[in-house]
């Protein structure tokens, strides 16, 4: 399949059409029905959490948050293939994948509430913190890939980046190193058509992103990122390819950011209602739901019930996160170095003296 839809062919890999009907079952992913339903539920959970996080932000209960709305199939498919020992090198818009990796929703909330501890993911194995400078995490993925190969481990790195991120020099350098070193990294580009306000065609003049794989001598594939089945199959083959020691793979997952860039962004400034509507039909959950309903695997009643259940579960977690104890002063200093330099210790002590003075003078 990687060959059949190789980037030079300029064909996008799809299994379902926009309504969730199978176009071709030649490359169906390996997944049993119950697991498929579970995957759908996980995506529903992630979407619910995403929507609720946006509301919490509107209520002033968290700070800036980048919604995932519309991109959940990519994360749901990743969740299916990524193993405990595999690595996840996140961008910042793939919450469903984080949760699959063992990150908790509470930690996610804590992070967007403004606590570093949320981003330390104490429950997740092999999951790097979210890092804000676009594309700069990709060389880390190549380095982890090197360590895996060097230690002869059976692990794969899943590295995420957005379409905008492909313009950064680090994208180029990371893919080049990974390919020269032939290390097991799957670069997943979520091409959601925008980098904040910049539409994809102004980001690069290339014919999509998968084709950029040729610049590095690695396989590249363009896949309908809103088609859960195609996305899953692609990731399954890519993982296999990596595990077999063939080196890295570039996946362009074509999708659409249905929400705002972040909660501080207003998309009406730079895109039309028509465009938004044209993507509405391609919604990844809608398509998978149609498919599952067609297979009699889903019951609308159940889904409603589940969603309610999710909502209260998520709210419970959020409220729990809100009771996080205050951020202690020492946490500003404690993690700077393995061994704290005297200077830093002194700065902390001096500040504590000031706080005492303030206390006693107010």
């Amino acid at each position: 399949m990687l060959k059949e839809f190789d980037a030079t062919k300029k064909k996008m890999f799809r299994i379902m059409d926009d309504d969730g009907r199978i176009i071709s079952d030649k490359h169906m992913p390996v997944i049993d029905d119950s697991q498929l339903v579970k995957a759908y539920h996980d995506m529903l959970f992630a979407r619910t959490a995403d929507h609720m996080t946006v509301s919490y932000q509107r209520q002033g209960r968290i700070f800036t948050y980048p919604p995932n709305y519309g991109q959940e199939a990519i994360h749901g498919a990743t969740a299916q293939v990524i193993r405990t020992d595999d690595w996840l090198v996140p961008a910042f818009r793939e919450m469903g994948a984080w949760l699959a990796k063992g990150a908790t929703l509470k930690d996610t909330f804590l992070y967007f509430m403004g606590y570093e501890v949320g981003n330390s993911w104490p429950n997740a194995n092999h999951f790097l913190p979210i890092t804000v400078p676009i594309a700069s995490q990709l060389p880390h993925a190549a380095g982890i890939g090197y360590a895996i190969k060097y230690k002869k481990l059976d692990e794969v790195v899943f590295a995420f980046v957005g379409d905008g991120g492909t313009s950064e020099g680090d994208f180029h350098e990371a893919l080049n190193f990974a390919a020269v070193w032939k290390v097991p990294v799957i670069f997943v580009v979520q091409n959601n058509q925008f980098a904040i306000s910049l539409p994809f065609r102004m980001q690069t003049a290339s014919d999509g992103i998968a084709i950029k794989s040729l610049a590095y001598g690695m396989p590249g594939i363009q896949v309908d990122g809103n088609d859960f089945l195609a996305m899953l199959r692609t990731l399954q083959e890519a993982t296999e390819f990596c595990r077999a020691g063939n080196g890295p793979v570039l996946i362009e997952a074509v999708t659409y950011r249905k929400g705002a860039h972040t909660t501080s962004d207003d998309p009406t400034k730079y895109r039309s209602k028509e465009e938004e509507e044209s993507w509405e039909r391609k919604d990844p959950l809608r398509r998978l739901r149609n498919y599952l309903v067609g297979k009699d695997l889903l019951d609308e009643e159940d889904e409603k019930r589940l969603e309610d259940q999710y909502r209260s579960e998520i709210d419970r977690i959020f409220v729990e996160a809100e009771s996080q104890p205050a951020y202690p002063l020492e946490d500003v200093f404690k993690y700077m170095y393995a061994e704290m330099p005297d200077d830093l210790r002194k700065q902390q002590v001096e500040h504590e003296k000031f706080l005492q003075w303030k206390e006693s003078n107010s």
């Binding site: 992070y111 509430m113 980098a195 904040i196 306000s197 910049l198 400034k269 500003v332 830093l344 700065q347």
Partner: protein, 322 residues
């Protein structure tokens, strides 16, 4: 006008006046910038003069260097202070060196606008104050306004300068201060500090958002009988040592207030200047009221990190009592 309006107004005036000026960066065109600083300019001047670039800071600065070499005067925006670093090589290897390398044949009339500083509850890399990184690069000038009027006047000077200028905008006060600012063109010279209040007991040096924080502490200081000479540095390099020296020679004491980490910062240079220019007048050790040598904490911890008027009061008072 607030500072956002003032900067927009300065760009507007210069774009109207000089066809060689182009304004670009991430989201500065259609969207008008994430802080809306360039709002309306693309519609007014066209998409070949005010435009969005792909997401790549090194190329944003690097192409500006090429444009300048070919006779344009680019004003580029870095979206946040924490995203200048990918462009660091272009800044230090070319922007700051091209004139010297070409023995004056190729000047670099480029302005790099950088919203910087903390206090806005932002994500990581959105709050840092690393002006000392740039101030120490030979060949650059670093300018930081503290009021809307200064932002306008200094930016106009920056755009008209034949030298490359990093124009750092204290985003915390982008909209926090409103001021009467003339719609007419005016400029404020680069390299000259502003004496905000005159006083006799202590010289307080600040810039950017910290000027306002010092001002907040002034009433209590007055109450405590301390007469403060507040100097807004305005330009980090070249530094107005003359104004600093005169003031320190008068007051004998200096307190520097900034959001930057303490060590190896602008504050260190200020202390060096105090020693070099007014050693015999110093009655107390020059004091840095600056941030910890740590990463800026995320919002929930940021109050620990940011300099408060109380802390400013506390330290000034200690220095005066020394």
């Amino acid at each position: 006008m607030n500072m956002v309006n003032a900067i927009n107004n300065a760009l507007d005036i210069k774009l109207a006046e000089d066809p060689d000026i182009v304004v670009y960066g991430e989201d500065v065109g259609v969207e008008g910038g994430v802080f809306r600083v360039t709002e309306g300019l693309q519609v007014k001047y066209g998409a070949d003069r005010v435009f969005d670039s792909p997401l790549a800071e090194s190329a944003i600065v690097g192409t500006a260097i090429g444009m300048a070499a070919a006779g344009l005067r680019p004003v580029v925006e870095m979206q946040f202070c924490g995203f200048v670093y990918p462009a660091f090589n272009q800044i230090i290897s070319h922007l700051s060196r091209m004139r010297n390398r070409s023995r004056g044949r190729i000047g670099m009339p480029v302005v790099v606008r950088i919203p910087y500083g903390g206090g806005i509850n932002a994500l990581e890399h959105h709050s840092e104050s690393m002006e000392a990184l740039y101030a120490q690069i030979p060949g650059l000038k670093v300018v930081i306004p503290s009021t809307p009027a200064d932002a306008k006047g200094l930016l106009i000077s920056a755009i008209e300068s034949e030298d490359p200028i990093l124009f750092m905008e204290p985003k915390r006060i982008y909209r926090a201060i409103k001021q009467e600012v003339s719609e007419e063109k005016f400029s404020i010279p680069i390299g000259k500090a502003r004496v905000v209040t005159t006083g006799t007991d202590v010289t307080v040096v600040a810039y950017g958002a910290m000027v306002r924080e010092v001002q907040k502490a002034l009433p209590k200081l007055k109450e405590a009988g301390i007469s403060v000479e507040l100097i807004d540095l305005r330009t980090i390099y070249p530094m107005d040592k003359e104004t600093l020296a005169q003031s320190i020679r008068k007051t004998g004491r200096i307190v520097f207030v900034a959001e930057e980490p303490t060590s190896f910062g602008v504050g260190s240079e200020i202390i060096a200047v105090a020693n070099e220019e007014a050693f015999l007048y110093l009655q107390a050790p020059p004091k840095r009221v600056t941030a910890f040598d740590t990463i800026v904490p995320l919002p929930k911890g940021e109050h620990h990190y940011m300099i408060s008027p109380e802390k400013i009061f506390y330290e000034i008072q200690k220095t005066v009592k020394f």
